[in-house]
């Protein structure tokens, strides 16, 4: 199976690899997947408390090239968005942008789950109720 150019580009030059201070109130962390399944994603957002805008996003991923590319692209999309806009990111948008084949759709689902988990972590830290999400497309 050949990878799309965009997946190869994100794999070779991943954007926003790194770690934010997970103890900080302005940082939300989402850790999803499981080592047994061959995919673990950690996605973090830094939120400006005054404007509610995501000013920074970082990821670290254990997984195949498509998982790495999905999380790298997700961090790019998150930066500059408000929380409300970030919630609207759909895994199928990642699939389309990266041209993922059907067997790799779960990588995009994982990235969407990581975004939502990071947002809820941020909300919990700031005394807000967790958002309840519908099941994403599999």
């Amino acid at each position: 199976m050949a990878y799309s150019d965009k997946v190869i580009d994100h794999y070779s030059n991943p954007k926003n690899v790194g770690t934010l201070d997970k103890a900080s109130k302005s940082v939300g962390t989402g850790l999803v997947g499981a080592p047994e399944c061959g995919d673990v994603m950690r996605l973090q957002i830094q939120v400006d408390e005054a404007t509610g805008i995501i000013t920074d996003a970082k990821f670290k991923t254990f997984g195949c090239g498509s998982a790495i590319a999905s999380s790298s692209l997700a961090t790019e999309w998150l930066k500059g968005k408000t929380i409300d806009q970030a919630v609207a990111i759909d895994n199928m948008d990642l699939v389309e942008e990266l041209n993922l084949p059907p067997v790799k759709i779960h990588c995009s689902v994982l990235a969407e789950d990581a975004i939502k988990a990071a947002i809820n972590d941020f909300r919990t830290k700031n005394g807000l109720a967790e958002l309840v999400f519908e099941q994403s497309h599999v």
Partner: protein
């Protein structure tokens, strides 16, 4: 000059030796006869070529020429050997013993027979990949007709104690079948010294052509018979009908002759390269060799690089290096290698493995390139791995409640 890409997947298939191709060429256009045509020179030429190849093949494994039954490959050999014995010896019993790390051609054949009434025992392997002989002995029953244990494993290269296994089978009156696809042509295999009753092997894993293999079926002490699985003209002493693949068989014969003559020198050279690769790559932190290193094929190394995922790892160099991973991220099942799991490896280590399969044309330059490319990619991906960060921070990854998908 180093030519890319580098092929390190010789357990999947091998390139054909040019000398094999040369031997085959006259049997496509010029000598095209059917080896079963008894009444003209076209047939006689073909039959002569097949007989010569049979000798070359028999000699490599210490067999008699009459004990070689040509097949389309080892999958057919596995099917014919196991199903053929099950049917032929039905009056003696219905119990088969095999093990969990066998090739699918053996496991799925056994599963098929279970549906038809066979009782199959699947022996677990020890963490080093070898079966436990005491467990084999304990599994033997009066109804056991066949013990089917592979000679050497395709993923980790461990060599089973074939002599001891065959002795146990013999003691209990059962036949011993072995899938020797990875072993024949790579290490000395002698059907008499090893006590083998039936053995499947194939040409394309030993620098021969694809689409041709053989089933060894013992003729003396005991005389073994298998029920044919294909009905037709009764070729191959009635055990396998179908017009013989003459050019393929000629190539198979030549490949066996070359393997016999060059095995010692090939092994010496290739195992040195394998050891160099393995020594260098296991210098990376948290990298582990899978399978018993003392009982292993000389050209295989299976290594797990903890905290990086195998397919992601391969992507770092797969335009330059061709090899396989125990990760099954490409398959819809998301299940990693059942062989590595059978060793008791956690799924995480199974997902993190690479199989390096060296061969006759592997050079030191290629190995040096591979060491560098793999090491760099492992380090790069670990910088990107949340699990590596947790490991470095002293967090117990096993204690985390992971959400399973």
């Amino acid at each position: 000059m180093l030519k890319l890409p580098i092929y390190l997947d010789h357990n999947a298939t091998t390139p054909m030796d040019p000398r094999v191709l040369e031997a085959m060429i006259p049997y496509f256009v010029e000598n095209f006869g059917n080896a079963a045509s008894r009444n003209h020179s076209f047939g006689w030429h073909a039959e002569e070529a097949v007989d010569y190849a049979r000798e070359q093949i028999a000699q490599l494994i210490g067999a008699d020429t009459k004990e070689i039954i040509f097949t389309s490959g080892a999958t057919e050999g596995d099917n014919l050997g196991i199903k053929g014995v099950y049917e032929m010896y039905a009056s003696k019993g219905n119990h088969i013993i095999t093990c969990t790390t066998e090739h699918k051609a053996v496991l799925d054949t056994c599963k098929h027979l279970e549906k038809l009434g066979a009782e199959v025992t699947y022996l677990e392997v020890q963490p080093d990949g070898l079966i436990n002989l005491k467990e084999l002995e304990a599994a033997m029953k009066p109804t056991t007709i066949l013990v089917a244990i592979m000679y050497a494993n395709n993923e980790i290269g461990v060599i089973q104690p074939v002599k001891e296994i065959s002795a146990i089978a013999k003691k209990h009156g059962a036949l011993f079948f072995t899938d020797a696809v990875q072993a024949v042509g790579k290490i000395p295999v002698d059907v008499n010294a090893d006590g083998i009753d039936l053995m499947a092997f194939t040409a394309h894993k030993m620098y021969g052509p694809k689409g041709v293999g053989a089933l060894y079926v013992r003729r003396k002490n005991p005389r073994v018979k298998v029920t044919a699985q294909l009905d037709g003209g009764g070729h191959e002493r009635g055990m396998r009908s179908g017009t013989l693949n003459v050019p393929g068989i000629v190539g198979f014969g030549k490949a066996c002759e070359l393997a016999r003559l060059e095995m010692a020198s090939d092994t010496e050279r290739i195992s040195k390269l394998r050891d160099k690769l393995e020594t260098a790559l296991t210098q990376l932190e948290e990298s582990y060799v899978n399978g018993n290193p003392a009982y292993r094929l000389p050209h295989v190394s299976n290594i797990s690089f903890k905290y990086v995922e195998g397919e992601g790892l391969m992507m770092g160099f797969n335009k330059d290096i061709a090899l396989s991973s125990g990760s099954a991220c490409t398959s819809a099942s998301l299940e990693p290698s059942y062989v590595l799991k059978a060793l008791g490896l956690g799924d995480d280590l199974a997902h993190s493995s690479l199989r390096f399969g060296l061969g006759r044309y592997t050079t030191e330059e290629q190995i040096d390139f591979t060491i560098k490319a793999v090491s760099e990619t492992v380090l790069k991906l670990r910088e990107m791995s949340p699990l590596w960060e947790m490991f470095k921070d002293g967090i117990d990854i096993d204690a985390i409640q992971w959400a399973h998908h």
